[in-house]
């Protein structure tokens, strides 16, 4: 059974004057995926989203939504939030969403549903300008849900939210994903991507440095911290040891990532056979955050 391609990006580039914000990025998002775009600030996440939503003009490459160039009909199947929420501060939440609903040919009932989902129904007649930052963010989520779109594009949706709001947004995303909607989520928060996304593309300085399933890309690795009387010689030995995947030095420690299925016990045995008595051997699980930092270093 073939998988429906929702978004295909091919060699997309975007420059701001001499600054190349996005360079030759290519990836595909399939139907039903929760696709994370992960990268530090300034990595090109928002620019990529702004280009594929038609807000910015690309300098190179192309992209297709539902197999076609971006058209009015396809836009209406997408609910999107880019960067900060953009609404008229002098209009009420209901009036602001009325504009979105008219654009998307959605009913007024859909406005109340969206406000209800974002827990803002009681505030529907409040002016947008009078909302707190967290409420503004929830209003943006409500706007994305107007018209029950097939695809949700969310750029840093938990910006400005407290832990409770963070959890609420995560629940909204997960409940939308369970309805079979495709979700594209840009974030610099690894935890957010890890908890919500099935797939991830990692950007650094405008380039795509990795993409694939979250489980494959961001698997936890075991790191072994070792010390001996002669660190330099031990480091030289471990660099060429077959069971070692990576080795580096951090302050007084040598950190070793072992190839699977080797264990710290086997490492200790190997060192002992080579004449090194380890004064310290400590196993520590590497956090996903450290993995991510390693990737974008």
């Amino acid at each position: 059974m073939s998988v429906e391609k929702i978004l295909e990006i091919n060699n997309l580039s975007k420059n701001y004057g001499s600054l190349q914000a996005v360079r030759d990025i290519s990836f595909t998002v399939n139907k039903g995926e929760v696709y994370g775009i992960l990268g530090p600030n300034g990595s090109g996440k928002t620019t990529t989203l702004a280009v594929i939503l038609g807000v910015l003009n690309a300098n190179g490459g192309d992209f297709k939504w539902f197999g076609k160039p971006l058209q009015k009909e396809t836009r209406q199947r997408i609910g999107a939030l880019i960067e900060t929420p953009n609404f008229y501060p002098y209009l009420t939440l209901f009036e602001n969403l009325q504009i979105a609903a008219k654009i998307k040919n959605a009913s007024e009932e859909s406005i109340n549903n969206a406000l209800g989902t974002a827990n803002l129904l009681k505030r529907k007649h409040t002016n947008y300008g009078n909302l707190s930052l967290g409420m503004k963010q929830r209003m943006a989520i409500a706007s994305v849900l107007i018209g029950d779109p097939d695809v949700l594009v969310l750029d840093e949706p938990t910006n400005g939210l407290d832990p409770e709001g963070f959890a609420e947004v995560r629940n909204i995303i997960q409940s939308q994903a369970s309805k079979g909607k495709t979700i594209i989520l840009a974030s610099h928060i690894l935890d957010e991507v890890e908890k919500v996304c099935s797939h991830v593309a990692i950007l650094k300085s405008g380039e795509l440095i990795a993409n694939g399933r979250v489980g494959e890309l961001l698997t936890s690795e075991d790191i072994v911290y070792v010390q001996s009387e002669n660190q330099d010689e031990l480091f030289a030995l471990l660099q060429f040891a077959e069971m070692v995947s990576r080795v580096s030095r951090i302050e007084d420690d040598i950190t070793v990532v072992l190839k699977k299925p080797f264990t710290p016990v086997e490492l200790n045995k190997f060192c002992s056979e080579k004449g090194f008595v380890l004064s310290k051997i400590m196993l520590r699980k590497q956090s996903l955050e450290a993995q991510f930092l390693e990737l974008v270093k």
Binding site: L53, V55, T84, F87, Y88, T92, I99, A100
Partner: protein, 276 residues
Amino acid sequence: MIRKLFQIEKIKALSYPAFKTLMIIHFLLFFLVVLIVSQVNFSFPGFSVTKLYQFPNIWEFFPWVASWFNLFLAIVVILLVGNEFSFRTFRQNVIDGLSRNDLIRGKIILIFSIAVYTFLMVLIAILIFGLINSDDYSMGAIFGKSYLLLIYFIQALGYMSLGLLITIMFRNNALSIIMFILYFFPIEPIIRWIFEAHARRYFPIKIISNLTPMPEFLTMTSEKTFTTSSGTSALDFQEMGLTIEPLSVGLNVGLAVIYILVFLGISTYLLNKKNL
């Protein structure tokens, strides 16, 4: 689609406090001027204020008075369009599904709606004041110069289209208002001054503001041709080459329409080319 865009613009404009304030000020100032002038009991041989309020002269006088306040209409457009950049709502509208051409169409509908409103406001005022003050109620007298109101309508479109273009260029309310006013004076007058006298008549502000020239009160209210104290008429000055013959009404209107189309065309081009 036009209906949808109109409804969207209606929501954006009618709830905007500055829009309501400026439109009320525009309305009050216009009626205040025509009411105050109507109460002035000023006449001398060959001139009477009452005649300004009678058909067909009123078609000339009221649009001229209304044209003084076109600046308010242009500022309304500048604020409403500038807000779209300040609040980044043009960007959100595109994300939600409008094309960039739809954004411009929406603003053209807004401009057209304001022009229709002000057209109707002046029309109603003309009919009320004209019917109260006129002596001659023949169709010829009542509608004799009614085309001048249509020309005022084009002028209102012209000011607002220029306001739209300047706002799309500068993307900032305060800067756009300053640039709009500076273009009236001194930018265009200085540019005009560089050119030969005949060419000066073709500049956009000259063309648009000449659509509702000051009525020739004395010739309007008197059967006699007004002459200067030295006995020379305006025609004599033209014959002497001291003044330039004005463009015909038809040519002036035609050029104004062309300018409006150019303003809207450049606005569309810029909005399509620039990032939102």
